[in-house]
């Protein structure tokens, strides 16, 4: 797997005093599926959000397909600052799709219009072409009979599937899933996970932040256990989730297995 799509180097993110990411280095290969797990507040979502620049990293670099993003500039006190132009960030986000915990669908548009929106505004497809593609994507996530429904009238699971279709329609090179099932009722989790599993089988490059350890185990090529803004333990699903070597990974997993029967 020599084909590296994303290279993250020594990434830091601070929110004021709060040092959330403390030096993250990561290579994502084309076609690879990575699951990131860890306690709430460990910074795993922030890492994901720095990769498509929903948050701007404080230090460090993100490289997409061989190109380091942003431009270096010397600050007043001599330290190096990276600046990111809007057009660069927009084209990065077009290539790096994201699915959010809270779906973030547009409530004033039907499911179909939600999926068409990026195609028409960003990809500049004609309305007809956008509609065809959006219909195909919604069919793929099993929502062909909900195309004209507004998000407010859809269940959480259906909304998240629309959101996945919306991200997929842009044909991104990598998909970021930020706890896609965390705000769903338990009985709706399955339908979203099975859509994600189907994408995995297509060989799409994906990063998934999740608390669904069972799903992570079957989904991922590589699992990263995140703690205190750093990679704490990484490896194959088997190595990290079944035979963790380090203490905090073991403690984290023990909390999850407490209630299995």
């Amino acid at each position: 797997m020599a084909d590296t799509l994303i290279r993250v180097r020594d990434l830091h993110k601070r929110f004021g005093e709060l040092h959330v990411l403390r030096g993250v280095t990561l290579d994502v290969h084309r076609g690879e599926r990575i699951a990131i797990v860890g306690s709430s507040g460990s910074g795993k979502s922030t890492l994901l959000r720095c990769i498509n620049f929903m948050e701007l990293p404080t230090e460090g670099t993100v490289e997409l397909d061989g190109k380091v993003l942003g431009n270096e500039r010397r600050g007043r006190d001599g330290q190096v600052i990276r600046e990111y132009g809007e057009s660069e960030l927009c084209s990065v986000r077009e290539r790096v799709g994201m699915v959010f915990q809270q779906f973030n669908l547009f409530p004033h548009m039907t499911a179909l219009e939600n999926v068409m929106e990026g195609l028409m505004t960003v990809k500049r497809l004609s309305r007809r072409a956008a509609r065809d593609r959006a219909n195909a994507q919604l069919t793929k996530v099993g929502l062909q009979d909900k195309v004209d429904t507004y998000p407010g009238k859809l269940s959480g699971g259906q909304q998240q599937r629309v959101a996945i279709a919306r991200a997929l329609a842009m044909d991104p090179e990598v998909l970021l899933f930020d706890e896609p099932t965390s705000s769903l009722d338990p009985e709706l989790v399955g339908e979203v996970l099975s859509v994600i599993r189907a994408l995995a089988e297509e060989g799409r490059t994906m990063l998934l932040v999740t608390h669904e350890l069972g799903f992570a185990y079957h989904f991922a090529d590589r699992v990263i256990f995140f703690a205190d803004g750093r990679f704490y333990e990484t490896g194959t699903p088997d190595a990290v989730l079944k035979h963790p070597q380090k203490e905090r990974t073991q403690a984290f997993l023990a909390r999850f297995s407490e209630f299995t029967f």
């Binding site: 927009c90 986000r93 959010f100 990026g118 998000p151």
Partner: protein
């Protein structure tokens, strides 16, 4: 005290009032359209990260919100010839004054509306690769218009009534015509009753339609 109501003179001179109605409608429509457009620009400036834009918009809004419209109208009427070197017609001065005043209020409605839209909407749009301008135009503003419809309706109603102040600049709108009639025939009560009724007929359909639109939009979600 005995008072005998006599609407005869008002009815006999009704065409005079009707001519005023036309001018009132013109003032209202033009000032509302321009005020909304300018208000949108100012509202966008208010949420801009550029400090100078933001600051300028704040100053503008505060000046126009915290001084009486009546003073603004008269002030512009007299100040314009000095600033621009040529006289404005009373109608133009009234349109200008009403527009600037109403735009300040509209700016605040737009600002409040834009800031009330959840951050996730921005993120949903930007994650697709939309620019700030695209996200604002396609995702945020449509939701602002819907959410702020009651506030915009209020502004429209307020503006319709405030057009009556243009009478002090001798714009022959319905209030001016009314005052003219009442001082000619010494029947201020009758004339003003009819004038008030006319304003009601002009404004009520607008608030009624807006309330219906609000209900229709609400059924979607």
């Amino acid at each position: 005290m005995e008072y005998t109501w006599d609407f005869g003179v008002v009815l006999a001179n009704f065409p005079v009032l009707l001519r005023g109605v036309l001018l009132t409608l013109e003032l209202w429509a033009i000032a509302l359209a321009l005020g909304l457009a300018l208000g949108l620009g100012l509202g966008l400036a208010r949420v801009s990260r550029r400090a100078w834009l933001n600051g300028t918009a704040i100053a503008y809004v505060e000046i126009f919100r915290n001084t009486p419209v009546l003073v603004q109208l008269i002030w512009f009427f007299f100040a314009f010839p000095i600033i621009l070197g040529h006289q404005l017609t009373p109608f133009a001065a009234a349109v200008l004054g009403l527009t600037l005043n109403t735009s300040a209020y509209c700016a605040e409605i737009f600002r409040g509306g834009i800031q009330s839209i959840a951050r996730g909407q921005w993120e949903g749009a930007r994650a697709l690769g939309m620019t700030y301008a695209m996200a604002m135009r396609r995702i945020v503003l449509p939701q602002v218009l819907k959410r702020m419809l009651p506030a915009f309706t209020n502004r429209g109603i307020e503006l319709a009534k405030v057009t009556s102040l243009a009478s002090v600049l001798a714009v022959h709108e319905v209030m001016y015509q009314g005052r003219l009639l009442s001082s000619t025939f010494y029947r201020p009560l009758e004339v003003l009753s009819v004038v008030a009724f006319i304003y009601f007929l002009l404004i009520y359909p607008g608030s009624y339609l807006s309330a219906r639109l609000e209900r229709r939009l609400a059924t979607r979600d």
